[in-house]
């Protein structure tokens, strides 16, 4: 039943570009892209409960790496993995410092913010990586360069990314690792008392999460053809990344995806309508209100709430 529903949903998403307009495709690309990021964040922030507000750093590193390699003639298809590996490297450093020194909760949040901000400041000051202006990618339209004339190609890649991350999360959930991570989130001290190597598992979650997030950087770079330090390393992107899983339901498999399906169209549409009237930031007000509402009324997120609702309806 579950597998059938999943297969059906995927089939619909696969067929959608046949009927969608160009603008709708763009929105779907963003939905998948942010769902992917949300899912990657979810592995660390949701399952393991290690709140990171610096995930933008991994996007930035992934994007910058593959863009710089591309300038030197390395295809982004390879560069994306180099970028992701570097992002995972940074993730390992942050994780090692944060977990080894036992930073929890707010202190860990600050640590991730500090690292992301340092990345942003460095990227905007080192001229070799474009400085404050950032990097621009020459358009070739060549699929071998991760560039496509048809937006539908980006649509399918973004969809594949989202499914990949969800697959990884699903795999985690079934394995002992996922159970350990949830247990760490619920009560880390008890875990340690039971002999679980919490450091090792948190590190693993961090590395997987930052690797996946790093991959997204390449997609971002070669979809927008430009990288600005403020846009890819900044706190606003980190907020975009963490708000979706929180609203959808952190630590659940479909929560981040649901969060992206709720928030991304909302953000795009309000940006479209209010942005034209010169009213910027309206979508962020909506984010803020939603965030406050979810924390107060649905601390588990929207997905568990909906599931309960359906179960009650079915029973």
């Amino acid at each position: 039943m579950k597998a059938l529903a999943a297969a059906g949903a995927v089939a619909v998403l696969l067929a959608l570009p046949l009927v969608l307009s160009g603008y709708a495709i763009t929105i779907f690309i963003l939905i998948f892209f942010y769902a992917y990021l949300a899912q990657a964040w979810n592995i660390l922030g949701g399952y393991a409960g290690q709140l990171s507000a610096g995930h933008a750093a991994f996007v930035g590193i992934g994007g910058y790496t593959s863009a710089l390699l591309f300038e030197r003639g390395v295809t982004p298809w390879f560069g994306m993995f180099v970028g992701a590996a570097l992002a995972a490297g940074l993730g390992a450093v942050i994780g090692y410092l944060g977990f080894r020194f036992g930073l929890r909760g707010f202190y860990f949040v600050l640590l991730t913010v500090a690292f992301a901000e340092i990345c942003r400041i460095l990227a905007s000051n080192v001229e070799a990586v474009g400085g404050a202006i950032g990097l621009y990618i020459t358009f070739t339209g060549d699929p071998r360069h991760f560039q496509f004339r048809d937006p539908r190609a980006y649509y399918y890649i973004a969809l594949a990314l989202m499914l990949l991350a969800t697959g990884v999360a699903a795999l985690l959930e079934r394995r002992r690792l996922g159970i350990y991570l949830t247990a760490i989130r619920e009560d880390e001290t008890a875990c340690e008392a039971l002999g679980v190597d919490t450091f090792k598992y948190k590190m693993l979650a961090m590395v997987v999460s930052s690797f996946l997030t790093g991959l997204a950087g390449t997609f971002y770079a070669f979809q927008n053809f430009s990288l600005q330090p403020g846009a890819v390393f900044g706190i606003p992107l980190s907020v975009e990344i963490l708000i979706r899983p929180i609203i959808g339901g952190a630590g659940t498999l479909l929560g981040p995806v649901l969060g992206s399906f709720i928030l991304t169209p909302l953000a795009e549409v309000s940006r479209q309508y209010f942005g034209q009237g010169g009213l910027h930031g309206a979508h962020l007000v909506v984010y803020g209100v939603l965030l406050v509402a979810v924390v107060l009324f649905l601390p588990q997120g929207a997905y568990p709430f909906l599931r309960r609702l359906f179960q009650r309806g079915a029973a």
Partner: protein, 268 residues
């Protein structure tokens, strides 16, 4: 500014991500008062403090109060939500252009021998010291101040002796916000500001508070000095745009080796 944050955190262990945005609201209030009513920011900071006190009490009573016992993460997210709302409502109302309040004091300089001293900065500094002192006196010499510290120390203990902890929390949050409002108004003639400034201010004040030590007034003060000295030195020896690098690096080092800050007591 950090003094306000340290009070809020010290008392309630609630991390106020909306801090910088509250400060920006203080600035805009001073701006509106100065442009519409012609009130000098060095006078209107009292009004700003009062208004922000109200905002602080409302946020505390309406939102934070409901989840004071929830995990820390939820509070961070809640305040992040409040910050988003405050910042972007400011953006909607005032627009993205940088604003600056003009004060007749802002143009004055005193010549002290070889030094030129900005009167505006001097006044701001003096008022900041007076406010910090007043806050210290309030916390350590009055009944309400003692109650605030007691609730910070031991929530249940304070309940047991019959303190109205909810009211105390609201007061503390309000005072914290009022400090920020006053600070916002006071720096508005010196520092041009725009809605997005809030985020940067929040981050800077976190730096200061963490470095100085959460919940310690002296620490917040020294932390503020340390961060500004580190940033100025960075600006002199390297590029000005790199100056934040120093405060963030300092932050990471402090986080790792002395998470309670230089002047904070270690919390279990």
């Amino acid at each position: 500014m950090a003094v306000g944050l340290t009070l809020i955190f010290g008392v309630m262990r609630v991390v106020n991500f909306a801090h910088g945005d509250m400060m920006v609201w203080g600035m805009y209030l001073a701006f509106v008062l100065a442009t519409r009513a012609g009130v000098d920011p060095y006078l209107s900071f009292v009004v700003c403090a009062a208004a922000l006190f109200g905002l602080g009490v409302v946020v505390q009573r309406g939102l934070v109060d409901r989840i004071v016992d929830a995990p820390h993460e939820m509070q961070i997210l809640l305040m992040l939500g409040v910050a988003l709302v405050l910042e972007n409502v400011a953006l909607l109302v005032f627009g993205p252009e940088p604003a600056r309040v003009r004060s007749p004091l802002g143009q004055l300089t005193w010549e002290l021998g070889p030094l030129y001293v900005d009167v505006a900065r001097l006044v701001t500094f003096a008022v900041a010291i007076v406010l910090t002192l007043a806050l210290w006196l309030f916390l350590f010499r009055t009944e309400l101040g003692r109650l605030i510290r007691a609730s910070a120390d031991n929530h249940y203990g304070a309940l047991v002796i019959g303190a109205d902890v909810r009211r105390i929390y609201a007061t503390a949050f309000g005072i914290g916000a009022a400090c920020v409002g006053a600070a916002g108004a006071l720096v508005s003639p010196i520092l041009p500001f725009q809605p997005v400034t809030g985020l940067a201010l929040s981050v800077t004040s976190f730096n200061i508070v963490i470095i100085g030590g959460m919940g310690s007034l002296v620490g917040a003060f020294i932390g503020g000095l340390l961060v500004s000295v580190a940033e100025s030195l960075g600006a002199v020896f390297l590029r000005p745009s790199l100056k934040e690098l120093f405060s963030f690096s300092l932050l990471i080092v402090i986080l790792l080796f002395r998470p309670a800050g230089l002047f904070g007591k270690r919390q279990p």
